[in-house]
């Protein structure tokens, strides 16, 4: 089947099987930032924004995306650079495989609740698993990023 939607601000037309997920479609469109880290819908690596909200692309049925807006890390280069620098400064990237999914959810949090407390950050990001860092460096980096937004605002 043919699916038309908006990807990172541009209209795209994709081919998909009826049981494909948005993740399958994005990978077929060479969107390399989006990763799949589990078969059980709970790792968060496949996170993208659908109509401005963070969702797990591995579970969104591809046909449901028709006519909607999808944004991946490729579409948020400026914010990704600033957040990526915070992550690097705090040593929060080790293998880095979890980073794009984490960043997409942090950017969603920054829009929804830019003044988030540490407890709110933890709760919001509980569905982003990382097997390397132990999360403390990530939390410091996210704190630093959110604080930098406040300074600019």
């Amino acid at each position: 089947m043919t699916i038309e939607f908006t990807l990172n601000g541009r209209p795209v037309t994709a081919q998909a099987h009826p049981a494909d997920s948005l993740y399958d479609v994005l990978r077929a469109l060479n969107i390399a930032s989006v990763k799949c880290g589990c078969e059980t819908t709970n790792c968060g690596l496949c996170t993208v924004h659908l109509n401005g909200k963070a969702v797990l692309s591995c579970s969104v049925p591809a046909p449901r995306v028709a006519g909607h807006e999808v944004v991946t890390l490729e579409g948020l280069q400026q914010e990704a650079l600033a957040l990526g620098a915070c992550l690097a400064d705090e040593g929060a990237e080790q293998c880095g495989f979890c980073a794009p999914g984490l960043m997409m959810n942090v950017l969603a949090l920054a829009r929804e609740n830019p003044a988030a407390t540490d407890a709110q950050i933890d709760a919001y990001l509980a569905g982003n698993l990382c097997r390397c860092t132990g999360y403390m460096s990530q939390r410091r980096a996210i704190r630093r990023y959110l604080d930098s937004l406040e300074v600019r605002a």
Binding site: T40, K53, V60, P61, L125, A126
Partner: protein
């Protein structure tokens, strides 16, 4: 991997229902669970275009469309005000925010998972389900039945009860090892136990707030519990009275931190 021959965006409930009468069809809601099942089906029926994602407040109930996300319930102000924040407490431990944004209440209730926090809370609140053909059925009854081919259109949550929930998880965001949900109308209590590991069930109703709340061991002792890979029956027996007490405390307003 799942495989469907056709993916149909249902345009009406009648169409969805008619298509779903064939064993070769399957309803797609949040797809969070379904995607792991790897089903081969002729027809996948998508309910997302039927306007079933609204929470409507009436004088005596909240009428929740089956495609409403867990996140919408978790963050719904009036619903949480009415129940003492029970939806926020009960749903926040489920996987993550992205997950809860597309997991639906209808998929949770229809599936009748043993581990369901969602069903435990809704049972404690004495919710009803609305089925397209069959009409309104108490959740307590639906919860005991086997999976049929009707379509769950709404969940009705009656007003007038506060609720509390307590669970134990081996690690955050994992399935619960045991869940207890309690609700009160101000005079009596209703208690539900879930993740036993079998389906959630009402273990007591109409308990008087003062007189009947002395012996947690005895109350919990009557609940059928079992063993699965997360915990043994003996372990569940040990923690059941404590969870009951915590859930009751939470629903009576003393929302203590359990960690």
């Amino acid at each position: 991997m799942a495989s469907y021959t056709n993916y149909v965006m249902a345009q009406s409930l009648e169409e969805a229902y008619a298509l779903n009468q064939k064993k070769s069809a399957v309803i797609v809601a949040g797809n969070m669970w379904l995607r792991m099942c790897g089903l081969r089906r002729q027809t996948a029926i998508d309910l997302s275009k039927l306007g079933l994602d609204a929470i409507e407040e009436t004088q005596d109930a909240f009428i929740v469309g089956s495609m409403t996300s867990l996140r919408a319930l978790e963050t719904h102000e009036a619903l949480n005000r009415e129940t003492g924040g029970a939806f926020r407490e009960a749903l926040a431990p489920i996987v993550g925010t992205q997950f809860r944004r597309t997991a639906t209440v209808g998929g949770s209730v229809y599936a009748r998972f043993g581990f369901s926090d969602v069903s435990a809370l809704l049972l404690a609140l004495d919710a009803q389900v609305e089925l397209y053909k069959r009409g309104v059925v108490p959740l307590e009854e639906y919860q005991r039945e086997t999976w049929d081919r009707d379509i769950l259109t709404h969940v009705r949550i009656p007003k007038g009860r506060r609720a509390g929930i307590a669970s134990v998880r081996l690690s955050k965001t994992d399935f619960p090892v045991l869940v207890c949900a309690a609700s009160t109308d101000g005079e009596t209590l209703r208690l539900v136990m879930g993740a036993r590991p079998a389906r959630a069930m009402v273990v007591a109703d109409g308990l008087r707030l003062t007189a009947d709340l002395q012996d947690w061991e005895a109350l919990a002792g009557s609940v059928p519990l079992g063993t699965n890979l997360r915990a043994s029956e003996a372990y569940r027996r040990k923690i059941a009275p404590v969870l009951m007490q915590r859930a009751v405390q939470a629903c009576l307003g003393g929302n203590e931190d359990d960690h």
